[in-house]
Amino acid sequence: MKRILFFTCAFALAASVAFAGDVLKLGSMGPLTGPYAADGNDIKKGALTAIEVIKDDGGLPGFDDITLSPQDTACDPRQAVSAANKLINEEVRAVIGAYCSSATLPASEPLNEEDIIMLTPGSTNEKVTERGLPYMFRVCGRDDDQSKIAIRFMVDYLKGKTIYLVDDKTAYSQGLADNVEKGCPAAGIEVLGHDHVNQGDKDFSAVLTKVKAANPDVFYVSLQNSATGALLVIQARRMGIDAKFLAQDAVYHPQLMSIAKQAAEGMYLTFGYQDTSAPAYKKFLARYKPKYGDPGAYSAYAYDSAMSYLLAVKKAGTTDPEKVREALLSLDYEGASKRIRFKENGDSGSNYIIRVVKDGEFRNFWNPATGELY
């Protein structure tokens, strides 16, 4: 009797494993709550859109269904690691995320140990791909590239001689501001000051008074959160700071205009170039917009991250991580955000340009490759 029971159980277990194999489980990580929730939700929506598009196109051979398990990191390193462990327990094959570099860095370690591929749509810190983790991929650009573009813009176009930097001490925002600060003297720009504010701060009057007293040509705003960026810009304008405002990709979000309104006009931002007239982008938008409204800053990157993985699985014909990794490295995919070709270290290259806020929307402004206006 016992033996029969044992075999029945074993069979049931084997059967469930076999059936589970028919569902491709993906995970996503990002801040779904807290001050960065806007970007985290964009990542979730982008990944879901990729799954829907693949299903529309006939799905993946050998899989009945593709599911996404979205996890909240709150941009907190500890919560990110527990989210990663949760995804490991759920036996996902790949993870789209996370957003904050400070969350991606610790979370990627356990994922890599379990041979789970991680594709980040938003973590730009250099260290993400420079630790030699074989299953770590990045779809967005890198901070060192972004800071170079920022400096080139200040020198070539703004003709700025002095700069004041403010960051909010995250691995990403401070790393980027430090890179800009380091690069400035060689470019002939004098650094008048570099201040740090706290995450979640709302009152910047003290720091802004310092900036006003220093009177820089360029005010470099490196904050992790677009809403905070909006608050800073409103207060800076009210205080009468007439420097050129240069911000970066985390400040880039439609939220910036909805909060700062008139105050955001004329602000420059470094962000990846997006060809919104490309068929790949239109395909993404057609599926995304009716369901979730206008895409956020990282929606297209998240879509491309999930898409890259799904296409690689299709190409490899298996979810075996080593084979999918090879497929990813040989992938040449025209994505919604850019053309994606991964390098050996997992990077996909940067394509930063300068954008400007004009009439309440982001416009392409300056092309660093040619030094010309769009």
Partner: protein
């Protein structure tokens, strides 16, 4: 010198906000010796209700500045009612329990209210109609925005009003009597439950006013915005001598100034640290706070 004056103005504005929140802490502590950790959430709820009412009124075609004033009053009333409900639900049943139970109930309420705000209002920042509050005066290098003047003026006005209420009216007398001795005041015919409920309502109304002004001043509100100012206002209340209204006011302004000057002259990274260094120093050297010596006469 100009730099100093500008930072002074920034400090007074921020101090005014902390002072308004601190009043609620100090009044509730004065009357039932409870540190109401959910108080910061009334501030956040006030900010949200303000923008909700103002947008709604504007949609009815009301003049923008009337919207602002009416929105302020409506949000204050809403938060006062919310605070009375919270008091009934989370604190009144525990009136005879140990202080620790009530404190834990307050912490639980804070988390509950914050998450309630997140679930009903969403995780995104809610923008304020900032075009109404642009502009200000300029004196050479110094700028004073209209909003800074409004914050300081409204804070002063509410403080005077509160002082009149507490020291010049029958209700105020009843509040002071209840604070001194609940049993005795009940014996002479004061309804202690109603007075306690009223104290919560007034404190939350003031916090709501602070929330709206912060919304206008900074441009947006967020569901997490209550926590840090709540803790700082608590530090302000302790600094001024918890239970004392004027003390809370002075404490709030001091905490605001210290924060701004620490950020302006030392480093903005450590500005939050200084508020708490003060808190620790006060507890260590003068546990009763600045206005502590006459706490029995004037506490609410």
């Amino acid at each position: 010198m100009e730099y100093f004056l500008q930072q002074l103005i920034n400090g007074i504005t921020l101090g005014g906000v902390y002072a308004l929140i601190a009043l609620g802490y100090t009044m509730v502590y004065g009357i039932i010796q409870l540190i109401n950790f959910a108080h910061g959430e009334f501030f956040a709820a006030g900010g949200y209700m303000g923008v909700i009412f103002i947008t709604w009124l504007a949609a009815q075609g009301v003049h923008p500045y009337v919207c602002m004033g009416l929105g302020l009053v409506l949000a204050m009333i809403y938060c006062a009612l919310l605070a009375m409900a919270v008091e009934k639900l989370a604190y009144k049943p525990l009136r005879r329990a140990s202080r620790l139970s009530v404190l834990l109930s307050a912490l639980g309420m804070s988390i509950f209210l914050q998450n309630g705000l997140m679930l009903t209002q969403g995780v995104y920042d809610r923008p304020y109609p900032s075009e109404l509050t642009q502009g200000g005066f300029e004196f050479g290098m110094i700028t004073i925005s209209y909003m800074q003047i409004v914050i300081v003026a409204l804070t002063a006005l509410l403080l005077v009003g509160l002082n009149l209420l507490v020291f010049r009216t029958r209700i105020g007398k009843a509040m002071r009597a209840t604070a001194q001795d609940k049993t005795m005041s009940a014996l002479v015919g004061i309804n202690a439950s109603r007075i306690i409920s009223l104290t919560f309502a007034i404190g939350a109304g003031l916090a709501a006013a602070a929330g709206i002004m912060v919304g206008f001043y900074y441009g947006s509100v967020n569901y997490t915005m209550g926590f840090v100012p709540g803790i700082k206002a608590f530090a302000a209340a302790v600094l001024g001598g918890i239970g004392n209204i004027t003390g809370a006011m002075i404490g709030g302004v001091i905490i605001g100034m210290v924060e701004i000057f620490a950020a302006g002259y030392l480093s903005s990274e450590y500005k939050d640290v200084f508020a708490f260094i003060i808190l620790i120093a006060v507890l260590y050297f003068r546990p009763t706070g600045i206005m502590g010596e006459n706490v029995d006469d004037t506490r609410v």
